[in-house]
């Protein structure tokens, strides 16, 4: 029985990353209508940057710096992905983010090489809770995911900037007419989402080393979590992420580790198919 809970615990930690990426995707989608295929890149970039910075400074500082740099890169991605007003459709933006993801792999490969990188976790000593080992890193990841969900929901509902983001999604036309700049809104959404994903990446790397090619699977897992909430619900993306992570770990533990990705993808396909009831293609 303890092995079962062990898997659940590990699953929640990996699931936290999926949840974080999923919520980031939801934020960007709600503000801009764009699904950012390159979201996973932000997690990888932050992890790799932390690895580089940590050679010269304490871990905490390295992590903060890496997050800031990644957020900055995210704003650049925003400008490129949004494209030209009126000329660039949402689907074109998606393809642009695909191109960005590919290009980013080249840059990361050139800068950091092929070898997956990592750095020390917060603490090496796991807590023993009734026979189940819980790494502090896992706990932090889960807490960050929960906190992010709370903060994002409050942000979108209670702050004027968050409400401006929602407004831009509800009616881009009216948002423009009251003076909101849609490109600025996209930049803000991407920056916040990028920073959030970066934090996820920074916390992930000690447990699962990241490399230039990790971005794709992270994005897909994040998307699966986001689909759980129809791409619009922060809370459901959080839940979906945890569920997906636990499911994957159970498959790794009880079935075959080679199937963990496949199972996750199948779940996503089923979710997408399920969501197709009552949705219209536009």
């Amino acid at each position: 029985m303890t092995t079962f809970f062990q898997f659940v615990v590990v699953g929640i930690s990996t699931g936290s990353v999926f949840a974080i990426v999923g919520m980031s995707l939801v934020l960007v989608y709600r503000a801009t209508g764009i699904v950012n295929f390159a979201q996973g890149v932000f997690a990888v970039l932050a992890g790799l940057l932390t690895y580089s910075f940590v050679q010269h400074m304490p871990l905490a500082l390295a992590a903060v710096l890496a997050t800031l740099v990644t957020a900055l890169v995210a704003t650049l991605v925003a400008v490129v992905a949004v494209g030209f007003r009126g000329r660039t459709t949402h689907l074109a933006s998606l393809i642009i983010t695909v191109g960005i993801a590919i290009f980013a792999e080249a840059v990361l490969l050139a800068a950091f090489g092929e070898v997956p990188r990592s750095y020390p976790a917060i603490s090496d000593r796991a807590w023993d809770v009734g026979g189940v080992l819980i790494q502090p890193q896992y706990a932090v990841l889960a807490l960050v995911a929960l906190a992010a969900a709370l903060l994002l929901t409050l942000f979108l509902r209670r702050t004027i900037v968050g409400q401006a983001l929602v407004a831009a999604a509800d009616s881009p036309r009216a948002a423009e007419l009251i003076g909101l700049n849609l490109r600025s809104i996209a930049v803000i959404a991407f920056a916040v989402a990028g920073a959030l994903t970066a934090v996820g990446g920074v916390l992930l790397a000690p447990t699962v080393p990241v490399s230039y090619s990790s971005g794709l699977t992270i994005t897909i897992n994040g998307f699966a979590a986001a689909v759980f909430g129809g791409l619009v619900s922060i809370r459901l993306a959080l839940l979906g992420g945890f569920a997906l992570g636990v499911l994957q770990q159970l498959v790794v533990g009880y079935v075959d580790s080679q199937y963990s990705l496949i199972i996750a993808l199948l779940v996503m396909l089923v979710l997408i198919g399920w969501r197709s009831r009552g949705e219209l293609a536009v």
């Binding site: 409400q163 009616s171 036309r173 009216a174 948002a175 007419l177 009251i178």
Partner: protein, 257 residues
């Protein structure tokens, strides 16, 4: 004093010409209408005036300043607010948030520091303006917490108008006031607009398919047909003119909208 002046404005969508050299003017305190059938280019004229679309040619002057290629935010800052066709309220946000955004929308730019300062400085003025809008449109006060999407069509029209008023415009441009609303409601809104104009001094530019509504509400009107102004003048002179009837392809100003 002329608040808004369009001179020979041309709007193109690719190869198609939607607005073919339109000139019009709205003076302060006036009520002016722009009428014409569907597809005449009325909304495009409005969008060109409000900075949503760049004219291919011509000039847009707001309050004496040339603002032909301005952003919508600049236009709002200069005193023109638009209530769009179909209302376009922010459906998932409460009514009060809709109104507040109407005031703050033009405050935010990417420079975080200056935007934050502007936001903090304007908070009290915005609260005052909010109260004023609630006085003008008392129904909105009761609906302040309701998500705007869960209000009726007429209420949404009020939300959209209230939102536009939050920017303290000197000219309120309304696109298709009567769209999808019961005549009783339209009448009430029209009366409200007249009061707004006479008591608060807000100029009105009404763009509508319904010539009857336009003539009853506005002193002056421009008749648009396939992108060109075919007629303009005082409403009482235009009513019943055959050109108006033909501009609507058989529908006269007294036919139901």
């Amino acid at each position: 004093m002329t608040l808004l002046a369009l001179e020979d404005v041309v709007v193109r969508y690719g190869q198609a010409v939607a607005v073919d050299g339109v000139s019009l003017a709205v003076g302060s305190g006036e009520r002016v209408a722009l009428i014409g059938p569907n597809g005449a280019g009325k909304t495009s004229v409005l969008n060109a005036a409000c900075g949503v679309i760049r004219p291919a040619a011509g000039r847009v002057e707001i309050d004496g300043r040339v603002l032909t290629h301005a952003t919508p935010a600049a236009v709002v800052r200069r005193g023109i607010s638009q209530v769009p066709e179909g209302r376009h309220v922010f459906a998932t946000l409460p009514v009060e948030a809709n109104l507040l955004l109407g005031a703050y929308g033009r405050v935010f730019r990417l420079e975080i520091v200056s935007s934050t300062l502007r936001y903090l400085r304007s908070k009290r003025d915005v609260r005052e303006q909010l109260e004023r809008v609630y006085e003008l449109l008392p129904n909105l006060r009761e609906l302040r917490e309701r998500p705007a999407g869960r209000t009726s069509g007429g209420e949404q029209q009020m939300v959209a108008i209230g939102r536009a008023l939050m920017a303290r415009p000197r000219l309120l441009a309304i696109d298709e006031l009567s769209l999808g609303l019961a005549p009783v409601l339209v009448q009430a809104l029209a009366e409200f607009l007249v009061r707004l104009n006479e008591e608060e001094g807000v100029a009105i530019l009404l763009v509508d398919q319904s010539a009857a509504l336009a003539f009853s509400l506005c002193e002056r009107a421009y008749v648009l047909e396939t992108g060109r102004v075919v007629l303009d003048g005082a409403s009482r002179d235009l009513e019943g003119r055959s050109e108006v009837r033909s501009a609507y392809l058989g529908r006269g100003p007294d036919d139901p909208a």
